[in-house]
Symmetry: C2
Subunit: 467 residues, 2 copies
């Protein structure tokens, strides 16, 4: 498909000027009610039409018996009725010239043969009319600009993120909800979000191609259970990787897990080893679990890439660094060997009880000033590709000037990835740093994973540049 056509098709979803909710319910807490509420009572500015033959008005909006009765053009239809009705609804949509449809309902191929037929039938009708489908069996889409929001999760239970650089596309609506909230709480921000469940039509490849030309998207993050069209996915990814990192979490790694995927989104997961091999070779960055997917995304969205794999660490409590070093070895990340000059300078400015190695251990007596001195020297060392400051914010000698100092060092253009573990005070300090654009992680392994993603994408770009 031509890119222009694809963009036009998918814009119908994200830039919909009018939306019909089929299966709009008058009962709070019902899925069809909550979708209508989220679309009509919050920030989405388009026209919203509830379709329900049994109600006159819901949430003060006039109801229509069928989509064909709506006296307006409909850009997007959201379906939340039993799967048996969908073929007929798609037929009506087609006749009404609707070209975009999110099917939230389950009851399709994830339930086995009989229901797979309904999905096929639905898809055939969609193709006949040129309707693109997201879903079924999903929570649909969100766009931080147009505020289109097809979720059935209420605002008091699920946060919506502000606008930002991350696009997240996911087979699991549940992981989608979680990532949306983590992205909201970290103030990272999202560009576009798609939960596509059974992936009957619009797939990862379509979405990657679309996001590749989306100016708001800086990082593409994906949760996959199964791969639809592998070749198409790899081609789309290859193209996008020139300008945007892609981070992937893939489940269904074992036979049993794959079986679970089958009854979740209707497809066996396939061999993880094969998939992982191809993805890695293509340049996708693989995460091991949902936290790591988020952690890597946060680093890639906020920090420059690393121009090499040599990490320098500085800390006021070396325990976590021991584990970080172990993890670096595991991930084949090197520790910088500091230049002679660097060591000399560090020794001359730091108190004698500090341990000048890599990590540089400033000990529990460390002040913000000592961090400042150390970081400046380390960032100027050309053997340092990435800096990892560790903080024990609980240690009272460490003054709060540290929160101004760290973000300023971003001017050196080298990635900075922090680690700080603890309770309320530590979380507050970490949040302040993150607001200033420096990512902070709660355990060393997660910080190292984030560093890895910056090193890995640096390497991917380097290889592409050489081609």
């Amino acid at each position: 498909m031509e890119k222009g056509q694809l963009i036009e098709q998918l814009d119908k979803f994200f830039k919909a000027g009018s939306v019909a909710v089929i299966g709009a319910s008058s009962k709070p807490k019902k899925i069809g009610y909550e979708i209508l509420r989220n679309l009509s009572q919050y920030d989405y500015k388009g026209r919203v039409y509830p379709i329900n033959p049994k109600a006159d008005k819901i949430l003060n909006l006039k109801c229509y018996t069928s989509i064909q009765d709506v006296p307006d053009e409909i850009d997007l239809v959201v379906i939340a009725v039993s799967s048996v009705y969908t073929p007929q609804i798609l037929e009506e949509c087609g006749q009404k010239s609707v070209r975009a449809c999110v099917i939230v309902s389950g009851g399709f191929k994830e339930l086995g043969k009989e229901h797979a037929k309904i999905e096929e039938e639905t898809l055939e009708i969609a193709k006949k009319y040129g309707i693109r489908i997201i879903g079924p069996n999903c929570i649909g889409i969100f766009d931080s600009e147009t505020k289109i929001d097809t979720f059935f999760q209420s605002h008091d239970r699920m946060l919506r993120p502000q606008a930002g650089p991350v696009a997240f596309i996911t087979q699991s609506g549940t992981f989608g909800a979680t990532m949306l909230e983590w992205i909201a709480e970290s103030e990272l921000g999202i560009s576009k979000f798609v939960s596509y469940g059974n992936r009957s039509d619009v797939d990862e490849a379509d979405l990657i191609r679309y996001l590749n030309v989306d100016h708001d998207t800086k990082v593409i993050t994906i949760y996959l259970e199964s791969v639809g069209n592998g070749r198409k996915l790899v081609d789309a990814a290859k193209e996008a990787l020139h300008t945007k990192p892609i981070v992937v979490l893939k489940s269904g790694r074992t036979e049993l897990g794959s079986k679970s995927a089958l009854s979740h989104t209707g497809q066996l997961a396939g061999s993880y080893a094969v998939c992982e091999g191809v993805f890695k070779q293509t340049g996708l960055i693989m995460a091991e679990n949902l936290e790591e997917l988020f952690d890597m995304t946060k680093a890639l969205a906020t920090q420059p890439i690393a121009r090499g794999n040599r990490v320098a660490m500085v800390t006021n409590g070396a325990g976590p660094c021991v584990m970080a070093v172990d993890e670096c070895v595991k991930r084949k990340i090197g520790l910088s060997e500091f230049k002679e000059e660097t060591v000399k300078k560090l020794k001359s400015v730091l108190p004698s009880y500090c341990i000048v190695g890599n990590p540089v251990d400033l000990t529990g007596s460390a002040t913000a000033h000592e961090y400042e001195l150390t970081m400046e020297i380390l960032l100027k060392d050309s053997n340092v590709d990435l800096l990892m400051p560790f903080f024990v914010f609980q240690d009272t000698p460490l003054d709060e000037k540290i929160l101004d100092i760290i973000p300023e060092f971003q001017k050196y253009g080298k990635p900075i990835v922090c680690c700080a573990s603890g309770g309320a005070y530590t979380k507050k300090q970490s949040k302040i740093l993150e607001k200033k654009g420096v990512p902070v992680y709660p355990i060393p392994e997660r910080a190292v994973a984030a560093a890895y993603s910056l090193i890995r994408y640096g390497k991917v770009l380097e290889t592409k540049d050489q081609k």
Copy 2:
């Protein structure tokens, strides 16, 4: 050493009626000031004596030039002065009949040969007088009953946990601070805490033997960089494991990591593979990182052991279950094969769109009542050893009755380990469940690790019973 003697010696630390702080400072934020403040201005009820030849009063407490001038018996001395003074101070302590000493200061064997000598010298004097030492290069001790608290971390930066079942002993003060806070925030509660840094004298084995007879301690949790006396540790652990699970996180797994441990707490870490093998054979439960150490501790402290390795899952959003199944396979945890009767009952009570397998997928339409029906049936199935409910709290159909229902099912005596990922609302719901004794984890892998610890300790006990 006789157990009675050991208990008497270590009681001097945790049940100290009087404490002297050597190196008490009059300057806020200095380590010697903060220790004095935490001991004298909060909940510790014993007598506190600052030792500082240059000050008259600090924090309204009369200062003494030397410990020998204090007109009282001293149970415990906390040292926060430069390492070069410690041999002399220990000599004075000995003459004053002090028998317990926490050395917070660094500057000993972690700095290499010259400084190792000071540590040896200090230890020799201690032995001459029968003084037991915790440290040096540590943050010392905390007891939730007597409120003895040798930390230099202020209360506004580091939470202190309430009384509870967990004892945590750690070579890293930083990890100590973090675990204290996580335990405080989860309201799990701590019995005794020891950060022992360079482990010049009191070691893990001493502490395990002591904690084994401590009625307040239900779970012993350990962070280790190096192993002191391996034989002694294994013997102590073997004895304790009859009544208390022991969870261990060991760092210094790689050559580079081991080198970092050397400059952190003064000892090479040794071979991780050997250590891991011996520990596992002994019955210790090994954690991979600090979050997992906490996660396993939380499960072991709140849930009964599993009598087998067959897990049942129930969810209102199956994405996380796919990853949980993958992780179960990785950890050799089985999925329950439900009895015919169980499947029949589930199908008869649940709506037709629910997927009755393992996991039981109630879908996004699930209510608390459907969870209730399902959990009751699953817990009555003798093929189910452990129940894992997954929640998408964001899904609006799920009513808050769920928070009453889940904890009630603990009456069946089978372990329940929950998973729920998300933002503020999800964390609030999770916290309510945890207050009622049911642990909740933010990603499937962490929930499965927790389940693993309950299965593993069940197996350890079974093996010990057979002997």
